[in-house]
Amino acid sequence: MAVAGSGLRGPPGGEGGGGSSLTMERIRSLTDLPELEAAYSRLCGEEKVVQEELEALLEQQNTIESKMVTLHRLGPNLQLIEGDARQLAGMITFTCNLAENVSSKVRQLDLAKNRLYQAIQRADDILDLKFCMDGVQTALKKEDYEQAAAHIHRYLSLDKSVIELSRQGKEGSIIDANLKLLQEAEQRLKTIVTEKFNAATKEGDLPQVERFFKIFPLLGLHEEGLSKFSEYLCKQVANKAEENLLLVMETDMSDRRAAVIFADTLTLLFEGIARIVETHQPIVETYYGPGKLYTLIKHLQVECDQQVEKVVDKFIQQRDYHRQFQHVQNSMVRSSAADKIEPRELDPILTEVTLMNARSELYLRFIKRRIISDFEVGDSMASEEIKQAHRKSLDKLLNNCLLSRTMQELIGYYITMEEYFMWETVNKAVAMDTCEKGQLISSMVDDVFYIVKKCIGRALSSSSIDCLCAMINHSTTLLESDFREVLCTKLKLGFPATTFQDIQRGVTSAVNIMHSSLQQGKLDTKGIESTDEAKQSFLVTLNNVEVCSENIMTLKKTLENDCAKLLSQGFGGEQAEAKIESCLADMAAVSNKFRDLLQEGLSELNSTAVKPQVKPWINLFLSVSHNIEEEEFNDYEANDPWVQQFIVNLEQQMAEFKAGLSPVIYDSLSSLLTSLIAIELEKVVLKSTFSRLGGLQFDKELRSLIAYLTTVTTWTIRDKFARLSQMATILNLERVTEILDYWGPNSGPLTWRLTPAEARQVLALRIDFRSEDIKRLRL
């Protein structure tokens, strides 16, 4: 059975994957019974598997058969579809051929039509040419120059090949003659138009001027037309400007606008030109095309420059501008007051110059915008190079025109004069510094910032970013070096202490005064007239320094807003914002310098005035025994031995500062004071000895002190007194080991600020604690 079974499996060997794992050869070679049995059982297993597979396949037979039936049924349908498809393909091919045929005919038709059109065009052109030849003659005879020019324009716009072609025709010689006539007519017309235009210009006949101005482009004379027209416009500008300048000369000095009459004259000039541009731009654009405004304005700018020169020359002459500048320069070098120019005298001229520049900037910006938008229309299809070239020529026009250069020169002088005005006026404010009783700051702070603001504001009103930045820089220099130096010198005089430090202080002050006098090169006449005044002066200066620091930040913010307004109006180049920002950042940095100065002044006050007084008060603690019994403790209760007096003293001292210092500075000083008290008190406590009740006494004293100090400062002082409070806790213990209830793992929310060594040191201050016990502690 085994043999038959394997025989059923077909040819043995490694061919089919479905074959038995045992080959016939292998079975035949088996001789051993167990091996045979093993092979038999394997084959039986395989047979079973095959049987199952067969059954499964037989089960599927029905489904497969029904599917086959369906497939057979599909057969005829498929044949039908195939036939239809073939038919369709045939029809499509046919249609395609048909369409191909039709379209090739249409293409031929189209070509024919195009050629026909071209032929008609040529014929039209030739006819036009003839028409032009005749038309020009009649139009010229009738003095209808527009018509004549239109004919010439038509002739000029004709394709030159058309003319060539018509000459090759049968009527070549006639056309040649006609062409000659036409060319002659063109020349004649050009001469006539130029003559007529000139005549109209001379008579100032605007309608005629405009009439012929429109004809020039028809004759291909764009440049000539523009330049001639500009000539006419320039003459108008010149006439008007001359009139205006004469009016200036006659203006009465009492006139309301007398102080800014030159700025007004420039304004009139600029407005005049702007009006001309406004009125004539449409004509130029319509008849000459976009992109031509630049040429027109370039011509106009030449005249503008000439007129500006005249006005500015008159301004320089009448206002003595150059001499004033010279005078300022000399005054800057010389220090004697007699030769110095009075800054107030400069005020009107400085205002006028900035106004003149502002008007010029406004005008230049107007021109720039107009030309840019005109170029944009004209260059919409142009290459990047052409656009670049146009932009460059515009920049050149604006930067190199005499107007720009003249204004730059005036502003150059202005900055020096404005700088002088600022320094001198500030010097005056400093010299006239007064402090009203009850005022925290003196007059010069407000004065100085008023002046600085005024000067920068004036520079800003010139609309020139460079001018503005220069004045911001000068103001920064002034505030940072000179004005800060003034306050610094005052602080160096020091704060004189009262009573027992007077002698000692007197010496230091004298040295300080001498020192600073030497530095300044002159003796401060004010000096210290009385201690009170010197004290007042020191405190006021401290307040001044703080206000300066704040004022600088305020000034910076104000200027930022003002500049943003100017920039949003389109003044200044692309870097304008960055430039202003950088200059203002420098200015803001000066504010910090004043803050530093304030800190220096405060620590000076603390170390020379506060500390020498507070320290002896604290040292009095040593003279109050804290090694006390019940009786003394009760006595202390009734007659406080130290802390109440200390608080009264502190109160008295701080009252003086509270009245004389701004709240912010007073707060800083109080903070310095509390730190000082904490440090000094710690020192004396460590020098004292305590009994149990003495510790309690100290605790009471410390609590009173902290309670008082909390009322005088705005910020928490608990932190500063943390170490002292912890010392009081230790001094209040019943026994040495009680500290372990609070130390280490038992500390709870308490963070010890005392090191274990310090804790032992404090424990040792209690005379009733035995040192062996303290030593034995494990901290």
């Binding site: 920049d395 050149k396 930067n399 190199n400 720009s404 250069r405 730059q408 020169e409 502003i411 150059g412 002088y413 900055i415 020096t416 700088e419 020139s464 970013i465 460079d466 001018c467 930045c469 220069a470 004045m471 820089n473 000068h474 920064t476 220099t477 940072e480 070096s481 800060r484 130096e485 610094c488 870097q575 960055a578 430039k579 950088s582 420098d586 940095a589 910090n592 310098k593 530093d596 220096e600």
Partner: protein, 203 residues
């Protein structure tokens, strides 16, 4: 500490006669360009370039001033806050060299006494037109205690070196100042507030 992303900030101001190539030097360094037919500078131009010097981010604020006389009062106002000045002349123009003492007087008058000044002879690509010999310029700069360098903005010769060397010197100068300042209180008229603190540890 500064919020911005740099370790040092320095202001460099370029000065010198008109047409010696100040703008071209700045353009070459900041943008890598040499724009021919550069028009005269109006007032002052302003460029920023951040460079890396031994791992330190150094922001250079470069003020390119107009050389023409009429802008002098504007340009002078920038001297005082400058950490460094680049005094430029044109080696093919004797006149621009002869004006140097005048420029030095301006520096003396307006700049901070701690300013670093570098003398630059530009346009060495036009060697055949040279009017000022290198030796003469070197002697002059030595007498004035200035660092001297010859450059060509056109050929990009020594331009990078000029600014980077300057940045290095400014850094070491700034570090020295910090060491001094750590002992004494800040001096009045001190330059910009720069975060020196991180830098001292490295030295």
């Amino acid at each position: 500490m500064s919020m911005e992303d740099y370790d040092f900030l320095f202001k460099i101001v370029l000065i010198g006669n008109a047409g010696v190539g100040k703008t071209c030097l700045v353009r070459r360094f900041t943008q890598g360009l040499f724009p021919p037919g550069q028009g005269a500078t109006i007032g002052v131009d302003f460029m920023i370039k951040t460079v890396d010097i031994n791992g330190e981010k150094v922001k250079l604020q470069i003020w390119d001033t107009a050389g023409q006389e009429r802008f002098r009062s504007i340009t002078q106002s920038y001297y005082r806050s400058a950490n460094a000045l680049i005094l430029t002349y044109d080696i093919t123009c004797e006149e621009s060299f002869r004006c140097l003492p005048e420029w030095l007087r301006e520096i003396e008058q307006y700049a901070s006494n701690k300013v670093i000044t570098v003398l630059v002879g530009n346009k060495i690509d036009l060697a055949e037109k040279r009017e000022v010999s290198q030796q003469r310029a070197e002697e002059f700069s030595e007498a004035q205690n200035m660092y001297y360098l010859e450059t060509s903005a056109k050929e990009s010769d020594n331009v990078e070196k000029l600014f980077l060397d300057l940045a290095c010197r400014l850094i070491s100068e700034a570090r020295q100042n910090t060491l001094v300042n750590n002992v004494a209180s800040p001096l009045p008229g001190e330059g910009k507030s720069i975060s020196y603190l991180t830098c001292c540890n490295l030295n």
